[in-house]
């Protein structure tokens, strides 16, 4: 070893260092942590599973969707937030759509997509928010109106031509013909409905705020979470759902509200994070009533 040229010795040392450190930091350390964690905190280390009738029905830490086989909300359960991955723990993640993603690609009737299925176009983040708001509003019996959303639940966005100067043409790009545009006239120009397949990219994008005030449907109800597995909803969203859940179950609203309180985690130490309601725990508690 000592007689070998320095550069070979160096690489041998490097190989041995990687092996030794892998055994120490990559095997001994995680095994030791696992051993101690399993003894002291076995339930949490195993994923905080919740059992009902001896069968696991979920993890308290991982959100799930409370929809039926058709994907429609089940009325007697509190609903979770939208998820970019459909609450599949094997596909965690966010939508990653940007804050100015406001223009849809309308589906062209009769056209096929890359896989041969019917063309579905592409819905912008704004339209997704508007559509969710409308759907939640209808489910809970409140107004789903929001700023920058049309009454039919898409983004209220005009493409104005030419991009610079006095408008000569305006199109409500997210409203497919024959829909009536959300606004009839824009700066003296009649607004057209969007024709699927037409390229409007040359126009200037003008989102229109509209007259909607503070929305009745809370922010977390219309946005996808970061993980796609958010186990929580805001207190506001839980309270919005309480009358519907109480009605479906035939129990007093106050009873439901008391349970919401019970399954709300406040801010840690009073200042960290936001109050959050654990949806799975809340729904399980309701089932046990």
């Amino acid at each position: 070893m000592e007689r070998m040229p320095g550069w070979i010795r160096q690489h041998l040392a490097a190989v041995r260092a990687v092996v030794v450190l892998t055994v120490l930091l990559g095997l001994a350390y995680p095994l030791a942590v696992t051993g101690v964690a399993q003894v002291l905190l076995g339930d949490r280390a195993d994923g905080s599973l919740i059992e009902r009738n001896g069968r696991p029905v979920g993890s308290a830490a991982i959100g799930q969707s409370f929809t039926d086989a058709h994907g429609d909300p089940v009325g007697r359960y509190f609903q979770s937030r939208p998820s970019a991955g459909g609450y599949d723990p094997l596909a965690s993640g966010a939508s990653n759509l940007g804050p100015e993603d406001v223009v849809d690609t309308l589906p062209v009737p009769g056209a096929k997509d890359a896989e041969g299925g019917p063309d579905e176009g592409r819905r912008s983040l704004l339209t997704q928010v508007c559509a969710r708001s409308k759907a939640v509003g209808e489910l809970e019996g409140v107004s789903g109106a929001r700023p920058y959303c049309t009454a039919d639940g898409v983004g209220a966005v005009l493409k104005v031509f030419p991009a610079v100067g006095t408008p000569t043409r305006a199109v409500s790009v997210n409203q497919a013909c024959p829909a009536a545009p959300f606004v009839a006239v824009y700066r003296g120009v009649r607004v057209e409905c969007g024709r699927p397949g037409e390229d409007y990219s040359a126009g200037r994008t003008v989102p229109v705020r509209g007259g909607a005030g503070t929305p009745a449907v809370p922010a977390d109800a219309v946005t996808a979470s970061g993980s796609g597995l958010d186990p929580h909803i805001s207190v506001a969203y839980a309270e919005l759902q309480a009358p519907r859940v109480a009605r479906e179950r035939g129990i007093p609203v106050d009873k439901v509200k008391a349970l919401i309180d019970e399954y709300t985690t406040g801010r840690a130490l009073g200042f960290m994070g936001e109050p959050a309601v654990n949806v799975l725990r809340l729904n399980l508690a309701l089932d046990e009533e």
Partner: protein, 549 residues
């Protein structure tokens, strides 16, 4: 609440940095080798008592990193034949290359989706090991540079193997062990189970995943690494379960980078010099964290306005403000872990995360890399100041001559070149443009962010960009490799040439480098150099997006 959250972190760091910085000072300057360490040195086959010149130090470091790269690549490519693969196939060649580079360079860029790509063995014996050692390498380089300032008339700057082992075993390992258990208490999993399927309340199925997550999560933050066990990274409830684990993870990210200036001050024998560096870091960091919070809470863009809050890509338990604080912490350091998705941030909030990285990750920066980056900027500052008054610049008694300033300048030029050339190449070729999820200025932001993140070894992303393609895997891999090791070589060269010098005595004309005046100058140099380099690119991306809306 946001202010309290930030203030509690500042207070904790203020309390901890002194004892912890002193502890690291003892770790790196002590003569004693503990019996387990002696065993490790014997197994590795190195003599811990010998000192290395900068060239030998650099060669040892590069050899270690090269072997690490090969081993990590091999582990991924052979995972189906090893234990605990969960039945997953070998990782694709270009993703395996990208991931191996990414973890060895302390970048931890995620071209892969953890839960569907990597088995438990690759995660803990491959990725997590690099989380430890790439962090220890960064600290070793920083300590070597500090020795360059502290020593006189010598050729040597320390022993790489000793610095590596001590950093991993004495600094990182004990904190990681305790921290992992704290995180399990916060709901993180720690087991070796494969995903198991269960039936949900409404009759659907769901696969609940397992794995040695807490032990990896803690070092992912502590070593400013950032590569998640899961695709959703620290937004995933199994990686970051509660509002207080979120606070704790931010603390882990910041604790070493903010404590190393103390170690630096002790090693050069003037604690106040350490405080000056700390003041520069803290000033920039506080301004940046505050601005990111202001922009995100302001919610200035069409979709956040429609929603009523910038909640897209954020978790309810963290909320908008604490997510913004995490985002600032992760990009001010070289971490790149995310608890919310920066792609969906408001234009100016997203710009702050990019700007933080463009600063060169020096406020406080990655473990070790933050300190050596900041010291290089201090060298450039005394040079600029020296030019103004017409004196030979010096820092801590060492003359900053032409060799020193050349090395410092080359250090500084590496990342802007990689970022701007890389972004230009991506925007000018079809393989690059194919990855964009969003159109318009936001598309450019996605690419600019990717090259900024890779070249600065951060690893966070505007994750809409599809990067698991051969073109991006190779291009970003090269940026990570060059963005890590070229600066390291220049820094070690600088350490070598500083250590050789005889210190010049302080005179009336010496620029005092511990006063607020100097702190202000370094902040100025840091921000102005970045602004001049990257402003045109930022103007076409996030600024255009923010102003058009």
């Amino acid at each position: 609440m946001a202010a309290l959250f930030i203030a509690s972190l500042v207070l904790t760091l203020a309390l901890v940095h002194k004892p912890f910085g002193d502890y690291m000072y003892r770790v790196y300057t002590g003569d004693r080798h503990t019996p387990p360490e002696r065993l490790v040195y014997r197994l590795i086959g190195v003599r811990p008592g010998t000192e290395q010149r900068w060239g030998a130090y650099a060669r040892s470091l590069l050899a270690f990193s090269a072997v690490s790269l090969l081993v990590l690549y091999g582990l991924q490519r052979l995972q189906d034949r090893l234990w605990l693969s969960l039945g997953l196939p070998p990782v694709t060649d270009h993703i395996a290359w990208n991931t191996a580079v990414s973890f060895v360079t302390n970048t931890n860029w995620q071209a892969y989706a953890g839960e569907s790509t990597m088995g438990h063995l690759v995660q803990m014996a491959g990725l997590a090991v690099q989380n430890f050692v790439s962090a220890a390498v960064g600290m070793a380089v920083a300590i070597a540079l500090v020795r360059g300032f502290a020593r006189r008339n010598t050729d040597t700057i320390g022993n790489f193997w000793v610095d590596l082992v001590r950093g991993a075993v004495r600094v990182l390992l004990p904190i990681a062990f305790v921290g992992a258990l704290v995180l399990v208490a916060g709901g993180l999993v720690q087991n070796f189970a494969a995903p198991h399927e269960l039936t949900t309340l409404t009759g659907g199925t769901q696969s609940v995943t397992g794995g040695p997550v807490a032990s990896q999560e803690v070092i992912k933050e502590l070593g400013t690494n950032g590569g998640g066990f899961y695709n959703a990274n620290s937004a995933h409830p199994f990686e970051n379960g509660t509002s207080w684990t979120n606070w704790f993870e931010i603390l882990l990210i910041l604790v070493i980078p903010f404590s190393l200036p103390r170690t630096f001050g002790k090693m050069v024998g003037q604690v106040r010099q350490g405080y000056a560096i700390l003041a520069v870091m803290a000033t920039i960091a506080l301004v940046s964290v505050t601005l990111t919070n202001v922009f995100e809470l302001g919610g200035g863009a069409t979709v956040p306005q429609a929603v009523g809050a910038a909640m897209e890509g954020k978790e309810v338990r963290f909320g908008v403000a604490d997510s913004a604080t995490f985002a600032a912490a992760t990009t001010l350091t070289s971490t790149g872990a995310v608890d919310s998705f920066h792609d969906s941030y408001t234009p100016f909030g997203g710009m702050m995360t990019m700007f933080n990285m463009m600063l060169g990750e020096v406020a406080p920066g990655g473990v070790g890399s933050g300190l050596y980056g900041m010291l290089v900027l201090a060298v450039i500052t005394v040079f600029v100041a020296g030019l103004m008054v017409g004196r030979t610049p010096e820092y801590l008694g060492k003359k900053i001559g032409s060799r020193e300033i050349k090395l410092a300048s080359m250090y500084f030029l590496v990342t802007p070149i990689l970022v701007l050339v890389g972004t230009a190449l991506a925007m000018g070729n079809e393989a690059g443009l194919a990855g964009l999820l969003n159109g318009g200025p936001h598309g450019l932001s996605e690419v600019l962010y990717a090259f900024t993140s890779a070249s600065n070894n951060n690893g966070s992303a505007f994750a809409g960009l599809t990067v698991n393609t051969p073109w991006y895997d190779v291009a970003l891999g090269l940026c990570m490799l060059l963005g890590r090791f070229l600066p390291i070589i220049f820094v070690l060269g600088l350490a070598g040439s500083l250590a050789r010098q005889t210190p010049v005595p302080e005179s009336a004309g010496t620029l005092p480098t511990h006063r607020p005046q100097f702190v202000g100058m370094v902040v100025g140099v840091t921000v102005i150099l970045v602004a001049l380099t990257f402003l045109p690119a930022l103007a076409l991306g996030p600024i255009a997006e923010g102003l058009l809306s």
